[in-house]
């Protein structure tokens, strides 16, 4: 009632504050009793309890089932195991569903604990370990594989990707070099440009990759997707927003399911205050934690606030709680963003962001740490990130703005994931 006398915008603001508060409260309540629900007896035999994810691609499922059946009879058949593991890994990527990684690991069971399995097993084992952010063991597997087979392009590429995530750009660049002989031109240049753009050569690698892509318009769609995504991300970091938009759109137009691209484009839209487009883009992707996070961030700034906002926030909380209970370390970056921008708990967010920084060091990891440190008014915690930005000459407009705030003093509230105006 009292709200009627307030202007519409201020009442919406107050309501949103209550909603934020409510989210925090429901999160706290959940912390007391994590995941407590009430089991029930369905009343009707026809009631559908669960829809299996493979329903959309029953042909795929059939192939997987046949391969699995074959493997049950002959578990140590190397070729069958490799094929099935690759299928599962591909499926886990397409669906962003980690259960398939577990299935892939199971097909490699005869070799999983072996110190010296065949090279192909080593490379797949490294891929699965990398997906679980077990980077050290993944790199060890790749080192062994490359020692046995220096011409294994997949191993070099996976190594470069991991080293890039770890922020070890010199070693990462060196891992791209052998690809000149072993992989396509587009893959090689994308690998090299992606890394060089993070270590002081953004403009040069941007142009090189753009030209290479023009030349290779016939390359496989998956290769073009990767190149376009890297181009879009470099453009974002350089502040060339129009070009970034067009690369993102070209990448999306390829219509290959790719959770990473959706996440990157959603972040771009969030930074440019376009929340409606985020919720449209990701409305069918809320099963994936990282993408649900973007949806919820967008809903936070939408007016009127969508009804789903609170439910989405609670779902995220439960997922992060489950992940922590398992001892997983895959979601620290997302959890830090959730904690800072949706729970408004800068200290806890900073703790998570620092923990995350010990595992991975991409620009997004630097950003959440700086944002949390600013909000928590703890400049000392930002030091390692500032040092790393300086050492690598990282060119990133957003990070530069954040870094400059450490020199001009504090008092800046968390920006809700949006660009400071």
């Amino acid at each position: 009632m009292a709200m009627a006398i307030l202007s519409k915008s201020s009442s919406a603001r107050i309501r949103s504050r209550w909603l934020d508060f409510g989210l925090a409260v429901s999160v706290c309540l959940g912390a007391v009793e994590p995941g407590r629900t009430t089991p029930f007896t369905p009343s009707d035999d026809h009631q559908v309890l669960e829809r299996l994810p493979a329903k959309t691609s029953s042909a795929d499922l059939l192939i997987l089932r046949r391969a699995r059946a074959a493997l049950t009879n002959d578990p140590e058949n190397l070729q069958t195991s490799l094929r099935l593991a690759r299928d599962y890994i591909a499926k886990s990527r397409a669906e962003s569903d980690p259960r398939y990684l577990g299935y892939a690991q199971a097909t490699l069971a005869p070799w999983w604990d072996s110190p010296d399995p065949p090279v192909d097993i080593l490379v797949l084992r490294a891929t699965i370990r990398q997906s679980n952010h077990d980077f050290d063991n993944a790199l060890a597997d790749l080192a062994k594989a490359l020692k046995a087979d220096p011409a294994n392009g997949q191993a070099w590429l996976t190594r470069a990707t991991i080293l890039q995530v770890l922020g070890e750009y010199d070693d990462a660049k060196r891992a791209c070099l052998p690809l000149w002989r072993l992989a396509s031109e587009l893959i090689t240049v994308t690998c090299a440009s992606s890394i060089a753009s993070l270590s002081g050569e953004a403009a040069r690698s941007y142009e090189l990759l753009d030209r290479t892509l023009e030349r290779n318009f016939n390359a496989a769609a998956s290769e073009r997707l990767w190149a376009l995504t890297v181009l879009a991300e470099i453009a974002v970091r350089l502040g060339r927003d129009t070009e970034a938009e067009s690369y993102f759109r070209r990448a999306l137009a390829l219509e290959l399911r790719d959770g990473y691209l959706l996440g990157a484009y959603a972040d771009f839209l969030l930074d440019h205050d376009r929340p409606t487009e985020v919720t449209d883009l990701l409305k069918d992707e809320t099963r994936v934690d990282g993408l649900l996070l973007r949806v919820t961030l967008a809903e936070k700034s939408l007016r009127p606030q969508p009804a789903a906002f609170t439910a989405h926030g609670s779902a995220l909380r439960e997922r992060f709680a489950a992940s922590r209970q398992r001892g997983d370390k895959v979601h620290r970056r997302e959890e830090a963003r959730f904690t800072l921008h949706l729970l408004n708990q800068p200290k806890e967010a900073l703790r998570l962001a620092k923990e995350n920084w010990t595992i991975q060091r991409e620009p997004a990891d630097a950003r959440i740490l700086l944002e949390s440190a600013l909000a928590a008014k703890d400049p000392a915690s930002a030091r390692p990130v500032m040092d790393s930005l300086e050492k690598n000459h990282l060119e990133d407009l957003e990070l530069a703005k954040l870094a400059s705030q450490f020199n001009t003093g504090f008092g800046v509230p968390p920006s809700g994931g949006r660009k400071p105006k």
């Binding site: 989210l23 409260v25 309890l49 299996l52 569903d97 259960r99 679980n132 099963r287 439910a311 439960e318």
Partner: protein, 392 residues
């Protein structure tokens, strides 16, 4: 089925903290399966060990069971309750063959008592409830967990083990499939404190007990003079009045609380709850048309007997272990008294200070009591006839 006491607890909750209730409701929305996560596979195993019995509940994802033993009989990509029920035996065999319990030195034989369904963030789960035979009062329990590890090594079994009121958690993985837990012995002091806390909590959220007491106490700082209320002359008579009423109420509800908890007297909770509401109505009406005539303490004793039965229902709902009964009873009762004293401690100085004012004698005593009488009347109707009058 929920008891009347539980229902009452729930309604009072939402009245006091409507906002919280709203968020709890919102929280409940999140478990409706519209935003399923893609998360790695987990199962949730909980075991509860008491002196004489050990019971368990195991939630396993339908997706995992489908992958392990197949549930989707007609291969349409949807698992129905009928399909799950048809495979109940297979589900039980699969689960129980992959979980081994040793209570102290004897094998714990599990028997499934119920198959239910629950929704977690990543979808529907089969819920197996089971009892465990063998080894009473075990000091240790050894658990070997091997479900799903062969087909998904990234599967984890998340254990919640509650023994004698103490909770432990653990994670089972292929590398850590057998774990041993010390169960310790029941901690009497801790149990006592937790029951005392429940007592305090119950008084604080128990609107009807508070209203009854306040309604009785309101005239305690006043005296009747030619059909008009006047403030008492000093603190001593006010204190004496309050002391008599509180002591009588305490004595009475302690008696019936003990009798009911020990199982000597049992009354249907619907009657008890309705009578409690009636006691609030009468206490409030007495402030408008006095008919207790200074015998508030007697009324407090009489209705205190009824309120004691109400407390007992709450205590019985908390679940009592044999052997810890006395501890629970005394702890809970002392908690109730402590909560009650805190209320009186706030009430008495305030009422004493304001006793001579129009605000107190007219507004609080008359109008306030009228409001209380109205609210309590609707509670009474609700509880007698089982329908809802008030929105809270």
């Amino acid at each position: 089925m929920r008891t009347a006491a539980q229902r009452r607890l729930a309604t009072r909750w939402s009245f006091r903290i409507g906002l919280f209730a709203f968020w709890i409701a919102a929280f409940a929305v999140s478990i409706i399966p519209n935003v399923y996560a893609h998360k790695p596979s987990d199962s949730y195993l909980s075991l509860q060990v008491d002196n004489t019995t050990t019971i368990g509940q195991w939630d396993i994802a339908l997706r995992d069971l489908e992958y392990a033993i197949g549930l989707d009989a007609n291969n349409d990509g949807a698992i129905t309750w009928g399909e799950l029920r048809a495979r109940q035996k297979a589900v039980e065999d699969y689960a129980l063959s992959r979980l081994h319990l040793r209570l102290a030195d004897s094998v714990g034989r599990m028997r499934v008592t119920e198959l239910l369904v629950d929704n977690h963030t990543d979808g529907a789960y089969a819920v197996l409830r089971f009892t465990v035979d063998g080894g009473s009062s075990p000091k240790t329990i050894e658990i070997t967990y091997r479900a799903l590890f062969d087909i998904d090594p990234q599967h984890r079994g998340l254990l919640r083990l509650v023994a004698h009121g103490q909770t432990q958690t653990a994670v089972f993985s292929p590398d850590n499939a057998t774990q041993r837990f010390e169960l310790g012995t029941p901690d009497g002091g801790k149990q006592f404190l937790s029951f005392a806390w429940e007592g305090i909590w119950h008084i604080w959220i128990g609107f009807d007990h508070i209203l009854f007491l306040i309604a009785l106490l309101l005239p305690a700082v006043l005296r009747r003079e030619n059909v008009r209320w006047r403030g008492v002359d000093g603190f001593a008579p006010a204190f004496a009045n309050v002391f008599k009423i509180v002591t009588a109420f305490t004595l009475a509800h302690s008696i019936t609380l003990s009798l009911a908890t020990l199982g000597i007297v049992r009354l249907p909770s619907r009657w008890v709850e309705s009578a409690i509401a009636a006691s609030v109505v009468l206490a409030a009406l007495n402030n408008i048309y006095p008919f207790f005539h200074g015998r508030g303490w007697l009324v407090a004793f009489g209705f205190g007997l009824v309120h004691g039965f109400g407390f007992a229902n709450v205590l019985l709902d908390l679940g009592l272990e044999k052997g810890a009964l006395a501890r629970a009873l005394v702890g809970f009762n002392l908690g109730v008294e402590a909560g009650q004293l805190a209320i009186v401690g706030v009430f008495l100085p305030l009422a004493y200070g304001l006793r001579a004012t129009w605000f107190y004698q007219r507004l609080t005593l008359k109008f306030g009591s009228l409001c209380v009488a109205l609210i309590a009347s609707s509670w009474m109707l609700e509880r007698m006839f089982g329908f809802r009058v008030l929105p809270f």
